[in-house]
């Protein structure tokens, strides 16, 4: 517990310290958006289109308006000048649909907002929405990106008949030569299916406008409060310094809360219009339809290789299902796949093309891993296929092609510079833990008995810690402010916006170690734009690597000042800060941290050239991304009778650089692996031909549950990054990125005696059973 004594007994960084945010979460006392109540607050309910494509002939709101308790009903005509949903990504020739807050004359996806009812409570608001009569003229829709690109397909936006939002081309090295000189060329179409992020808390917004001082308070479940502030203030023409955005407790995001959504703009607009606070809470059904989806790739790979297994060239064509309109990063996500297409391999020659396709579906955007799981899945599947073609062991081909330790910093064919690594270490460690050679022998025996046992490997690399500002749409730096209060307690204000990643704990560990105080003497605050300096937010496994580094540097400044005051009090010139006190290195005399803080604020006397008070702010611009890596090894058994996959062993070896808190790192890996296995085996957003999302609830969308998870044997290798002084790389997405190819490679391996070379996700039992029962050659 925090006390008035400042204490310190041990080094905090590197310890398995329990998360300090957990007590309020597990006792149900945290404050989420829906816990916010304000006097006179109204509730909004949104009427949404049941059609994927339709003209709106007319909207009759008279019955809704007449309902007792309804304050207002707004339709597209009312909000058409209130701005559009912002897209932050830019690509040459990008066609950006103007997505109004409410549909005006046509809808182009199921869930398209058509009208909003504002009422005294959420029940009346919903009743009111049901009374609105919309006359639709349904049209044919297109829900599949490949069909959308076919000639004659329904145009999602009439002005762009080909449904092409953009094309993108990148190449490096001499790919033509690599293919011309290849001994083998392996081709495969690989699908990374559409997924629904499904955070535990859906989205929600409370907007509270104060006309008298032109100020807005916007409470929203977001990963990037400052970004929401900048965008919504600009869209509505409001003053940014009077616009406060608060991300209260946020129950998960997984990338789906980086965006600025229509509802955030709409609710602010309504609050201004009605001069009242207004709340909207997304239902789970809306969350399935109206919060972004992830993945949605159809990839066409070609790999050129030499007979000895050297991979000499990669060609990749990506068809990205963008959905019907763009959220903040939609078109940028597949470009991340291109950046990471070589994986951990030295391959000097690459060629990539992306076609972004509009469909009558929910927009895709960043979902845990965002572009890198697709790239990793592709290259890791392809490497296995090349190994099979060359009759090589999948471990051997990987070890042969890895970037070598002496080659770092390693420039890739896609224009990146990999920071540091020992890529073979996690793979070797995973193989050792698994007893790889023994497993292969066991597999030979199992196959003799007709059993389908598979061993799958994945060696993944990812790009994290976004990132140098020129490479990002909205700045890639991060900020931190550290204040030592007069009582000696330390307050950290960070520009990142954690929502489950545990930085209230890890940042307190960093702070405690640097200032020589205890973890309970430190409070980490975030997520309120009126409190913390401008920050970018939490996504892309950047919080600790970028935000933690900003904090580290702020702490260096502050530590120097504390020492100055300590030295002044001790009348010394050589002092050390540790164990809650400042000690004279010569005399051994010490003064408590608390006394120093008091002296700094009381300011009876000041050290030379030193101002009173103890506060430091640092903005840190990273010089490069970081590139975590690792290897996952999965042993599966496939039941011949049913096609069921059971995961016998799951080994995850991750290298995320230095580890600040092993407990939190393990938790991040476990959650990530669960989502990756979810994609591999169960999850998929399925649309029918008419653009209806048929997996529109948890009845049909298979979220992984605890009881479906294997025991995860996790381990680490540690290769610090030179990019930041903490040596940390990031681990939020690693598990997800490593998991899906490891599982799929394992199942393909299990079915390889039947001639199976590739399987697309999810690996549902029926899909496998059909192959098994046909004895097939897929």
């Amino acid at each position: 517990m925090a006390t008035t004594t400042i204490t310190k007994t041990e080094k905090l960084v590197g310890k398995r310290i329990r998360r300090r945010e957990d007590p309020r979460l597990i006792t149900g006392t945290a404050t989420y958006v829906d816990d916010i109540k304000m006097p006179g607050m109204l509730y909004a309910a949104i009427l949404r289109s049941p059609h994927a494509a339709a003209k709106i002939r007319s909207i009759d709101i008279s019955k809704a308006k007449a309902l007792k308790g309804v304050h207002a009903v707004f339709v597209g005509e009312d909000t058409k000048n209130a701005g559009a949903v912002p897209c932050g990504a830019s690509l040459p020739g990008l066609r950006v649909p103007h997505h109004n807050l409410l549909a005006i004359d046509r809808v182009y996806l199921v869930g398209h907002p058509v009208a909003v009812v504002v009422a005294t409570d959420r029940y009346v608001a919903r009743d009111g929405a049901e009374l609105i009569e919309v006359d639709y003229e349904p049209e044919a829709a297109v829900a599949d990106p490949e069909k959308a690109l076919a000639p004659g397909a329904h145009a999602v936006h009439p002005q762009w008949a080909d449904n092409v939002a953009f094309t993108f081309h990148q190449e490096g090295g001499d790919v033509a030569k690599a293919f011309a000189e290849a001994d083998v060329i392996v081709k495969q179409r690989i699908v990374s299916q559409r997924l629904i992020p499904n955070s535990m808390e859906t989205r929600g917004v409370v907007a509270d406008w104060h006309a008298a001082d032109r100020s807005m308070n916007l409470f929203t479940s977001t990963q990037a409060p400052h970004l929401v502030r900048s965008l919504v203030a600009q869209i509505l023409g409001l003053e940014e310094n009077r616009f406060r955005v608060v991300a209260p407790e946020v129950g998960g995001g997984f990338g789906a809360k980086i965006q600025t959504y229509a509802e955030e703009i709409l609710l602010a607009w309504i609050s201004m219009k009605l001069q009242k606070p207004v709340k909207w809470i997304e239902s789970r059904r809306e969350n399935f339809l109206c919060t972004i989806h992830g993945r949605g790739h159809v990839d066409f790979y070609e790999i050129a290789a030499k007979r000895d297994g050297t991979i000499t060239g990669i060609k990749l064509k990506i068809i990205q299902d963008l959905g019907a309109y763009f959220t903040v990063l939609t078109p940028a996500i597949p470009t991340l796949s291109v950046l990471m297409m070589p994986g951990l391999y030295r391959t000097p020659n690459i060629q990539a093309d992306i076609v972004g396709a509009f469909t009558n579906c929910t927009p895709t955007d960043a979902y845990r891993g965002a572009g890198r799981p697709e790239a990793t899945h592709g290259i890791e599947r392809m490497v296995d296929m090349v190994a099979a073609e060359l009759k090589m062991d999948p471990a051997e081909i990987r070890l042969k092609n890895f970037v070598r330790n002496e080659e770092f910093p390693f420039p890739t064919a896609t224009g990146l510079v990999y920071d540091s690594g020992d890529y073979s270490a996690p793979l070797k460690k995973a193989m050792e833990m698994a007893g790889y050679d023994q497993l292969r022998k066991e597999q030979v025996e199992a196959r003799k008995q007709g059993k389908l046992m598979g061993i799958g490997l994945c060696a993944y690399g990812e790009i994290c810690a976004f990132g140098p500002s020129p490479a990002t749409p909205a700045g890639g730096w991060e900020s931190a402010t550290v204040k030592i209060e007069p009582s000696g307690q330390v307050t950290v204000l960070t520009g990142i916006s954690p929502h489950g990643q545990g930085e209230e704990t890890t940042f307190a560990q960093i702070t405690g170690d640097e200032l020589g105080v205890g973890i309970d003497d430190v409070l980490v605050l975030h997520g309120d734009t009126s409190l913390v300096p401008y920050g970018i937010g939490t996504f892309g496994s950047r919080s600790t690597a970028v935000g933690g580094t900003a904090l580290y540097y702020a702490l260096q400044d502050l530590k120097a000042k504390v020492k100055k005051f300590g030295a002044m009090l001790l009348e010394s010139e050589d002092v050390t800060l540790a164990n809650g006190q400042c000690t004279d290195n010569k005399t051994g005399k010490s003064v408590g941290f608390k006394e120093i803080a008091a002296a700094a604020y009381r300011a009876m006397k000041l050290p030379p050239n030193t101002e009173p008070g103890l506060l430091a702010t640092h903005f840190w611009e990273p010089p490069n991304f970081t590139f975590p890596f690792g290897a996952h090894l999965v042993v599966t058994d496939v039941d011949r009778d049913t096609g069921n996959v059971s995961i016998r062993r799951y080994i995850a070896i991750d290298d995320c650089g230095n580890i600040l808190n092993p407990l939190i790192v393990d938790g991040q890996v476990h959650g990530g692996v669960a989502q990756g296995i979810g994609q591999a085996l169960w999850e998929q957003a399925v649309y029918d031909d008419n653009g209806q999302l048929v997996t529109g609830e948890f009845m049909d969308y298979t979220m992984p549950r605890a009881h479906m998870m294997p025991w995860i044997e996790s381990g680490h290798t540690v290769t610090p990054t030179p990019v930041n002084p903490l040596g940390v790389k990031g681990v939020g997405e690693a598990g997800t990125i490593g998991a899906s190819p490891a599982v799929v490679n394992s199942v393909v391996d299990a079915l390889s005696p039947l001639g199976v070379k590739h399987l697309d996700m999810p690996l549902t039992p029926e899909k496998l059973w059909k192959l098994i029962s046909a004895g097939s050659n897929a």
């Binding site: 049941p50 199921v110 399935f288 029918d688 048929v694 049909d700």
Partner: protein, 141 residues
């Protein structure tokens, strides 16, 4: 969703054909049909109240008969929409004499949208089959 099947009616094809176009018969046989009102040549406006398990909802819809080829075949289109979603069924009915009656075979497409499409996936097939069976049972009665 594709649907197909057949049903035996103990009537000669001419009568079976006629019965399946008789608005009074249709109104009595369409599950949940509350009213059927002629609005054009072989086109009717229909009000339905669907009730199955705890699900219930009112639908406004249309019934249309096209491509008539008596007594061999015609196309039947039924659509309805309400607060809980919409549905549209379209099918070809073929009449073949069999024993002393007629084998009515159908083949078509059922489209469902809105909330019912999102939450009722595992039940749509079974429900469609049940509705069709109830429909023919009533036509035969």
């Amino acid at each position: 969703m594709k649907i197909s099947g057949s049903y035996f009616l103990p009537l000669p094809p001419e009568q079976a054909y006629q019965r399946l176009q008789d608005p009074a018969v249709l109104a009595g046989a369409m599950p949940g049909c509350e009213s059927l009102e002629k609005i054009g040549e072989d086109e009717y406006r229909m009000k339905m109240k669907m009730a199955m398990a705890s699900l219930s909802g009112n639908f406004d819809g249309k019934v249309r008969i096209t491509q008539q080829n008596p007594p061999n075949s015609f196309k039947l289109m039924v659509e309805g929409s309400g607060k809980i979603g919409f549905m549209k069924g379209e099918g070809d009915l073929n009449f073949t004499p069999k024993d002393a009656g007629t084998d009515v075979s159908y083949e078509g497409d059922v489209q469902v949208g809105g909330t019912i499409a999102a939450v009722g996936q595992r039940l749509i097939d079974g429900t469609a089959k049940m509705m069709i069976k109830r429909f023919f049972d009533k036509v035969a009665a």
